[in-house]
Symmetry: C2
Amino acid sequence: MSNIIDGRMLAKKMNQQTTDMVSELKSRGTSPCLAVIIVGNDQASHRYVRSKNKKATQLGIKSIVKEMPEETSEQEVLQVLDEYNNDDKINAILIQSPLPKHINEKYVMSKINPEKDVDGFQVINSGKLFLNEPTNYPVACTPKGIMTMFNEYGIELKGKKAVVIGRSTIVGRPMAALLINAGAEVMVINHYVSNISDYTKDADIIVSATGKLHTVTENDVKDGVVIIDVGQNVDENGKLVGDVDYDDLRSKASYITPVPGGVGPMTIATLMRQTVELAKWSEK
Amino acid sequence: MSNIIDGRMLAKKMNQQTTDMVSELKSRGTSPCLAVIIVGNDQASHRYVRSKNKKATQLGIKSIVKEMPEETSEQEVLQVLDEYNNDDKINAILIQSPLPKHINEKYVMSKINPEKDVDGFQVINSGKLFLNEPTNYPVACTPKGIMTMFNEYGIELKGKKAVVIGRSTIVGRPMAALLINAGAEVMVINHYVSNISDYTKDADIIVSATGKLHTVTENDVKDGVVIIDVGQNVDENGKLVGDVDYDDLRSKASYITPVPGGVGPMTIATLMRQTVELAKWSEK
């Protein structure tokens, strides 16, 4: 009975709409611009930044990548950040994590102008989400991308029993807040909980963000459940897989996201969309 | 088997400790001061403000009550607020709700200096709570007072299944965040949910903040549950009662708060404590 949620297809559709939004903004003189600061030599980080840069350029978004050497001081990063914070041509700023150990990453990140906080991690933006403020503010891209999935697949949230596994500030907490704000009945549980089926067995929607293989198995869910898998794990055979037992769950779930090709592509598409939204909101 | 959580007794104990903290702060030259702004003639509001003022004075906290007439303009309220925000002798500011209709209450409240936000309602303080920041910040007094109850009665939270009924920004949401931060498995449900026992029947802890009679009945809970009742309702006989069927639940619950004499006294004791904490934090 399972319907696979095709994250690649959705991301493509979303990117097409983003391209149209960029054209419209440009036609009235607003040119969306994302600035990424990356410090040091972490290869995975450089790979992520290259792919964000490429995607932005494809969509007509101006992309600035500031590469700084490993030995850069905190003060030097803050100087660049301050310049970007005050540059009206830059709408969105992202500091690629991790920063080298001699830099206080949390402090540096807290200095991003909240109006350019494309990752949605700032305290003030998280507070607006938590309080469901009726204004525009950026939201963490992974859970925001998941909300787009629900919407595009016509998955009803109001009054549904949703379980979020994992309480990180980047995925679990903002995901819970978005679901609460959408009117769902929301449970947030620890990633290390042992008796997971006690929480998931009658859930209508499960979002797993644990980074742990076999977090949700066939016996933990009811027929017709919607399963969103945020995990990116490597299994015993060196294959990229999610948190849940995808093959076993496919026949029980009404909707399920694959890994890869599910949540992942939506996160980067949402990052691009949010860059454009920040540009639009800055027009006022 | 039920143990009644005695909010009056706990508040008294807490106030005694607060008095000691005030003495200690005064001995090093810090004199805690709470300023309350009240606009208009709402009788209930005036009653609340008088009781806060009286309690503060009892505990050695300086209390300023600024009474402004119904016809006060928004600008005039903002001027007083600005003065208090910048007055180093005032550590805590509270604007009594409701303000007259011609004043944008939400806007005025948002202008309280977050470091003097004794109600803990500011976006930035809510964001810190939501993200579980490892710093000092004020938290909404009702849920914070409930956390003191759990602590004083030795009620374990880590790994426990907690259900919060009601998702207000003043009680439900901060309560959920505090429980999540304490390591509980937390469900947040709408106050209007119909099949409440689906959510509460295996809960270890239930916090009800619905303002609705009979929100939780004897059949909705398991033996040994802990029940915290935030409701303040008037029943068919004109008696002040909570949200839950207290008399029926007493024999099933391991702990339960009465109404009156449960959560209520703890809220005002927490407000006083938080005034003193803000004074202490401002010393740095």
